[in-house]
């Protein structure tokens, strides 16, 4: 029985900040940062945007492409590390806003940057089991980096939403896998404002080990080699990592270009590889095979193999494309405005 994506949608906020404007404030070498990370600018959420608002817009776009009534959605999962509430799900607001309540299962997920793909993993399994007809999974974040920290150059905002079902698929899910160990490369303790990371430990033992672990397990499952895929997308905390891990796995830059958004978007955390997938779906052709591997610190990777169907052509134009949102009508802000929007300024009592 086929399970896959019935509708997809993405949302990228309009505001941007250039890395150079951040580096100037902290006396850092902007050129070195941009070169080292392959990051140039990142998205910034407005004061009235958060994981819930972006998820709602992305979900509405997914519904537009799915062409189903929202009441038929049986589950809503939002993965994020910046849920607006620590206790009270983002999913209930989104479910209410799209009209899926009350016959709907809902849970908020957290697993650093792979909370979005986690939702996708669970949603597809729930549909496959026959428990629900359609399930909505969203990866969204308005993540924060401590002022002056390396993370401040990459933490960005965005949302990607997928509706899973069994009929009218625009992409079938051929296989999914998950590869996970307890690896404290990046974390945030309860009540702390900003996350911490373990420097270079976030590289080989964390990102690369788990991404490769999931990718290899996935390709073994579907008995495929890198050349068999039209597109590959990996978690993209910066521009460098996904290109490096992809090439080490045997993928070409060409295969990865379409899903590679981070140089101009930043790291949208739980939205990262899912957004890359939406950018691919925006231009994919029937028959294209896509490999997607996420990564979340802590640590783990979810992997998926998709095959695009004929139906993709009917739905691409039904909602805004990801690349268009990334490249067009941007609103640049300076660091002062950025700090104000991100709540980094100590306000009066």
């Amino acid at each position: 029985m086929n399970v896959g994506i019935v509708g997809y949608g993405s949302y990228i906020p309009r505001r941007r900040i250039r890395l150079g404007d951040i580096a100037k404030v902290w006396g850092a070498d902007a050129v070195a940062f941009e070169r080292g990370l392959e990051l140039h600018e990142k998205s910034v959420p407005a004061r009235d945007e958060d994981t819930i608002t972006m998820s709602t817009t992305a979900a509405r776009r997914a519904l537009a492409r799915a062409g189903i009534k929202p009441e038929r959605i049986g589950a809503v999962y939002i993965g994020s590390e910046s849920h607006p509430y620590a206790v009270k799900p983002s999913g209930t607001v989104v479910a209410e806003a799209i009209g899926a309540t009350p016959d709907v299962h809902c849970a908020d997920l957290e697993f650093a940057c792979k909370a979005g793909s986690e939702g996708m993993f669970i949603a597809s399994a729930l549909v496959r089991s026959g428990e629900v007809e359609y399930a909505l999974a969203i990866g969204a974040d308005t993540s924060q980096g401590a002022p002056g920290d390396a993370l401040e150059y990459s933490t960005a905002a965005g949302a990607a939403a997928f509706i899973f079902g069994r009929d009218n698929l625009l992409a079938t899910l051929d296989a999914q896998t998950s590869f996970m160990t307890d690896t404290p490369d990046f974390w945030r303790r309860e009540y702390m404002h900003y996350p911490r990371h373990a420097g270079r430990f976030t590289g080989e033992p964390a990102y690369f080990k788990h991404t490769k672990g999931a990718a290899l397990a996935l390709m073994a499952k579907v008995n495929a080699k890198p050349q068999d895929f039209a597109f590959a997308v990996f978690h993209q905390p910066n521009g460098k990592f996904p290109m490096r891990v992809g090439q080490e796995l045997g993928f070409t830059r060409q295969q990865m270009m379409t899903g590679w958004l981070s140089p101009w978007l930043g790291n949208t955390y739980s939205g990262a590889s899912p957004m890359g997938l939406t950018a691919i779906l925006d231009v994919a052709k029937p028959g294209d095979r896509i490999l997607m591997v996420s990564y979340g610190s802590g640590a783990g990777s979810d992997g998926f193999v998709w095959t695009v169907t004929e139906r993709i052509r009917e739905v691409q134009a039904l909602a805004p494309a990801t690349r268009a949102q990334l490249d067009e009508r941007k609103l640049y802000v300076d660091y002062g405005t950025y700090a104000k929007l991100r709540g980094k300024i100590r306000m009066g009592e």
Binding site: A46, D48, I52, T53, T56, T57, P84, V93, A97, R329
Partner: protein, 132 residues
């Protein structure tokens, strides 16, 4: 006592979250939000009418001095928007890029945070207008 009381907020979800209003079955007038009596004909029966999320700006202003809830968001644009197919509302107009607000500007309603009850209280969501 405040519009941010949780019960008070929850009861307005149909209008604020889903743009639900009513269409008077007697005269066809669109009301938003729903109400018990038609302001045009006095009718008492309505069908559910979801406002379109597309509309035009009827008038606007740029607010530079605001009350405490919006104090740190100034300047912001406030507009009266008439939606396609009926219904009008008041909302912020935001995310203009290299444009000035204009009467007649086509806009789309997008889900946004409207207010919050301080750092620890509930967050109130609704819609704002963005340029198409």
């Amino acid at each position: 006592m405040t519009t941010l009381n949780p019960a008070r907020l929850t009861r307005e979800y149909p209008a604020r979250y889903r743009l639900e209003g009513g269409r008077c079955l007697a005269c066809g007038a669109i009301v938003y939000p729903r109400r018990l009596v038609c302001p045009e004909c006095g009718g008492r029966e309505f069908a559910l009418h979801r406002l379109s999320n597309r509309g035009t700006v009827k008038t606007f202003t740029v607010i530079h001095v605001a009350g405490s809830a919006f104090k740190h968001q100034v300047p912001y644009i406030l507009a009266v928007v008439a939606l396609e197919g009926g219904g009008t509302l008041t909302c912020e107009l935001t995310d203009l890029v290299d444009q000035q607000p204009e009467i007649g500007m086509p806009v789309e309603l997008q889900f946004r945070r409207i207010q919050e009850d301080g750092e620890a209280g509930v967050i109130a969501y609704g819609h704002k207008a963005v340029p198409v």
